[in-house]
Symmetry: C2
Subunit: 340 residues, 2 copies
């Protein structure tokens, strides 16, 4: 079963999104043609994953231009769709760089298409750089949430590394955190790895430390929603716990980060706005209650992993290591991580 996460259909001016809320049971696509509908699809998690929502928002601006919607208003509604992933603001900033000079649908479509193509190229480069730290022969990974083709335009970031390791001929095993509350690991990452033929085992989020203690794990790979200038990394809730499990067991912990996810304007993780979502995501599974009526939940969608727990940040230009402030600054100054 093949799928496409995001598809722009130019002749009708429609953005076609795979409805990830229906996976893995059903492959349903939604066709959207207004910026409001695109913003809602980001908010309600029809589409999720930092790189995917960036490209989705870019096409949201294209729908605005085609419909004659005020571009400033469209930008505002898309920008407010979710707070934590910086790729959303980054993509909209890129689009604004175009429409403030040329508000035509043609110009905006060209820019969105370029960003879509760039996302795939970036993911390929991340996977290629990552192979330097993935063991030859057999490689056992721990992974959190979903960071694959479903979280990007294609291939993915951290899950792309796992897939690439498999396709390179390594004997791969991937432990997949199920990733409560929305179970993106069990539902989406397992769905992808089944299709690619990558051996995997879903585990509850609380199992990571014990598994790393008692079984062989070579490395953790996770994605990110925003990397601060000091390397602190916001990612799906549970990432910080996974990083602690890795640190306590001497397992390297890598963050796969397109440079668009690195936000040098945010100095540390404490400055990152963490989205709090509906408690019912924790208390209900679809319409089935998991807890007694009257109980409340605190549903923080992301956490911040301190940079000191991160072995390396794998970007399209190479792997960045501590000290992150200096080495991320060098990266953005156009110097590769290994150059003087």
């Amino acid at each position: 079963m093949a799928f496409r996460t995001i598809e722009w259909i130019d002749n009708t001016g429609v953005l076609r999104l795979l409805d990830q809320r229906r996976l893995p049971g059903q492959l349903v696509y939604l066709d959207l043609s207004t910026p409001d509908a695109v913003a809602e699809a980001i908010t309600n998690m029809t589409v999720r994953g930092a790189p995917a929502i960036g490209v989705t928002a870019a096409y949201g601006m294209v729908t605005a231009a085609r419909r004659g919607v005020d571009l400033r208003a469209a930008d505002a509604v898309l920008r407010a769709a979710r707070p934590t992933a910086v790729n959303l603001a980054w993509a909209l900033d890129q689009m604004r760089g175009i429409w403030t000079h040329d508000p035509s649908a043609l110009a905006l479509t060209a820019k969105a298409r370029a960003m879509e193509a760039e996302d795939i190229a970036v993911n390929r480069a991340i996977s290629a750089h990552a192979m330097a730290v993935v063991p030859q022969g057999s490689a056992t990974f721990f992974h959190h949430c979903n960071t694959g083709s479903l979280a990007t335009v294609d291939l993915g970031t951290a899950l792309g590394i796992i897939r690439t390791a498999h396709e390179s001929g390594r004997k791969v095993l991937a432990y997949l955190d199920e990733t409560r509350p929305r179970l993106q690991g069990a539902k989406l990452s397992a769905f992808e790895l089944l299709q690619y033929g990558v051996p995997h085992a879903v585990v509850v989020d609380g199992a990571s430390a014990h598994i790393m203690r008692t079984r062989h794990v070579d490395l953790c790979v996770v994605g990110c929603d925003r990397v601060a200038a000091n390397g602190d990394t916001a990612n799906k809730i549970g990432t910080y716990n996974l990083a602690l499990a890795a640190a306590d067991n001497g397992v390297p912990f890598y963050v796969a980060a397109p440079m668009s996810t690195i936000d040098r304007a945010t100095l540390t993780g404490a400055d990152i706005d963490i989205e709090e979502r509906d408690p019912d995501e924790v208390l209900m599974l679809d319409s089935t209650p998991l807890a007694p009526a009257g109980t409340t939940a605190l549903n923080l969608a992301f956490d911040v992993t301190p940079a000191r727990l991160i072995t390396g940040i794998i970007t399209e230009r190479g792997i960045i290591r501590a000290p992150y402030v200096e080495n991320l600054a060098r990266l953005f100054a156009g110097k590769g991580p290994g150059s003087p």
Copy 2:
């Protein structure tokens, strides 16, 4: 809504168990009158919680005596019901101390009743000792799984501490790990705290580190299924991750442990048999699939928290601190933790 976890009905020779698999939605009791049925109720988690399954197994021996079932065979089937909690073997050893000399139902009933009463007294003593480390005024706890009246005969171990703090007039807030895969935190601990009027919030298991980093938490309290001679503690999967979150954020981490849960014959955590349960506990919620067909899961029911992450072990005789080998030995030699 009041409930009783375990009730022996002597005139009919029936052990009545609250079916915890139906909570919090339904309050259903099962009446059992054979050791095989009691063993099955332990295996299928009709009853769970280390102290509760110990007392349940003791009454299982009573049903055997009343039915004229071979006691050696009944002991074997009950002993094999679940591997990790040492209370099961401990309780059966206590019963064996009786039936090898007096196999009458009368003698075994008296012993089981004494163990039932002792469990409540032990839990009260644990809670009383714990108050020394619970802040006066307001106290915010983190808790894992269920360790309350549903996990014991009454009151509970770690959840008993939270309830006792509330009843002592402290302003309590309890963060409850939902505790995948079986959700004992969301289903059972929330059910109990709602009844006692204790303010609480259910959180996904991956949220603990971020909450401790960004909100005030005074202490973690957890139960245990087996404490090794060196203090390493087997408890519900996810406990080790919670302990790492606490250690990284300077939050004290306490294990509430009846002395019956301390197994000095097990030298370290590496020697504890960790039960592996059906992958469908992870992959399904009741009859709803959570992951695509064809995906596998690794479902380890417990983990082992290294003693170095444990601030103290709260027993009915006081709070034990490192060095655990020496101080647990002193405890069993009848010397209180503070005595010379």
